[in-house]
């Protein structure tokens, strides 16, 4: 018995890697779908805040991430864009991260095409500018000086959706999908607190805990944390839809469920081995 428990603690890492890979691949390949339970929290707060916006509102959507965090944040981009466009809320998008522009454009054009929305009337992508927090502060006083042209090189003065947008205060809400710095904290500190604009956020699961203080103070009206947040939002957006839009977060949750269970199982095995070893040495009476 002792030998067996000792062996448990020295499982080859290649075995661990293989089991983890299978725990992700098999549920995805088998198209395993688990029901997503919606509990009141930052995800529902985010959805409710967007839902409360009147038709015709204008939202600034900032894609502050890159492809490395795409599996978690891109489903959020699709779900939020769908929600906003379905409610006839206009979207002005931009990016504080250079590679966020293309990812955002992909979400905007796909959803816009599927819902029959029109670029420059219903949405516009202003593109990327460097500067982070300083850029946000400049946008607080004059957006058109920071973004004289949009992503496609057209003058913002000629874009209908930008007609009444001159500064950050002209937006009804800001939403940042962020994978780090600059991202949600920069928007809160430089825009939300200074210009009193409601801010919603989306982030990776690993960074979600650090944003809870902002939720507690109301500086952040809602937060989508990781794939779970994206799956929550996808589920909420689907409610009442006859033909719900496809998403990648809900199928991903099945794989994540199995992967979490497998990781927990490995931790338990490691601890059984550890405690058995300790007992053998007389550490546990």
């Amino acid at each position: 018995m002792g030998t067996f428990t000792e062996k448990l603690g020295s499982i080859d890492r290649r075995v661990i890697f293989t089991v983890i890979a299978l725990s992700v691949v098999v549920p995805l390949a088998a198209r395993l779908n688990l029901p997503i339970p919606i509990t009141p929290g930052p995800s529902t707060d985010m959805f409710d805040a967007v839902e409360a916006l009147p038709t015709g509102s204008i939202v600034l959507l900032s894609f502050d991430y890159d492809p490395s965090t795409m599996p978690e944040l891109q489903p959020m981009a699709f779900a939020i864009t769908q929600h906003l466009m379905r409610k006839d809320i206009k979207i002005v998008s931009m990016a504080l991260w250079p590679m966020g522009v293309s990812l955002g454009n992909e979400a905007l054009t796909s959803v816009s095409d599927s819902l029959g929305r029109e670029e420059y009337v219903d949405w516009v992508n202003l593109g990327y500018k460097t500067g982070g927090g300083v850029l946000i502060v400049r946008m607080g006083s004059n957006i058109k000086s920071v973004f004289p042209e949009d992503y496609n090189g057209n003058s913002v003065d000629d874009i209908p959706i930008m007609e009444h947008i001159n500064k950050l205060g002209d937006f009804d809400m800001l939403i940042s999908l962020s994978a780090g710095d600059p991202g949600v904290p920069a928007w809160i500190m430089m825009a939300g607190d200074r210009y009193d604009i409601p801010i919603g956020g989306g982030c990776t699961a690993v960074s979600a805990p650090q944003f809870y203080p902002y939720l507690g103070t109301g500086q952040l009206i809602g937060l989508l944390g990781g794939l779970k947040g994206a799956a929550d939002y996808e589920t909420l957006v689907r409610i009442g839809q006859d033909d719900p839009p496809p998403g990648t977060a809900i199928p991903g949750m099945a794989a994540q469920s199995v992967a979490h269970l497998v990781i927990m199982l490995f931790i338990i095995l490691g601890n059984i081995s550890y405690l058995a070893g300790k007992k053998k040495k007389g550490g546990v009476k």
């Binding site: 339970p37 979490h260 490995f266």
Partner: protein
């Protein structure tokens, strides 16, 4: 002189950026400095790109460590720059195709490797060695289960307990860290503005 000029620039710029919050007359100066910052930051991108090329060309020329990977970097870098500059970056262009079909999956793959290392590290290091570690372990299990649908299938209250952990103990700890970091940031900024902290000059003191 080598020290006086950068310290003076830092002092003047720092003081203006603070004053603009309180003195309306200094607001336009603050805005000008912000414009300058964005222009300088834009140039930093070109410097970064030039530096990347320089490092890899140098590595190939002198057959440095892992030099065989450098041509791949240069070819990839050139392909993205040339397709973007010549054919545009809109949807349907070669640049967009390369980005969505090559850059995006490769970056996501690299980040996904973390899952394997996290699992292996958790197996080897996450031990219930004392009551504090055991508390951490239990909290981790609850949060891990609360973040996936299977947690609610096991017991419907798990997501609620998980959310409580995030909203109460986590929030308290995060807020303490955040306030401590903010105080440290203010202190460091003041030290830089008044020339006490000079490490950002790269050892030119």
């Amino acid at each position: 002189m080598r020290l006086f000029v950068p310290l003076t620039i830092t002092f003047v710029a720092g003081i203006i950026m603070i004053l603009q919050f309180f003195v309306p007359a200094t607001q336009s100066m603050g805005e000008s400095l912000q414009e300058w910052y964005m222009i300088v930051a834009s140039f930093a991108i070109f410097i970064g790109a030039a530096n990347l090329l320089q490092v890899h060309v140098h590595r190939i020329r002198f057959k440095g460590r892992n030099w065989k990977y450098s041509p791949v970097t240069i070819v990839g870098f050139s392909a993205m720059i040339l397709t973007g500059l010549i054919l545009g970056i809109e949807k349907g262009t070669p640049f967009n195709f390369l980005f969505l079909e090559m850059v995006a999956p490769m970056s996501a793959t690299m980040f996904s490797l973390l899952a394997f290392f996290v699992a292996s590290a958790a197996f080897r290091a996450f031990r219930a060695s004392n009551w504090r570690a055991t508390l951490l372990l239990i909290s981790a299990f609850v949060v891990m289960l609360g973040r996936v649908p299977i947690g609610a299938m096991i017991w419907p209250r798990i997501p609620l307990i998980s959310e409580w952990i995030m909203q109460v103990p986590n929030l308290a700890g995060q807020r303490a860290v955040m306030i401590g970091a903010a105080m440290g940031m203010v202190a460091t900024s003041l030290r830089m503005i008044f020339g006490i902290e000079r490490s950002y000059l790269g050892g030119a003191d």
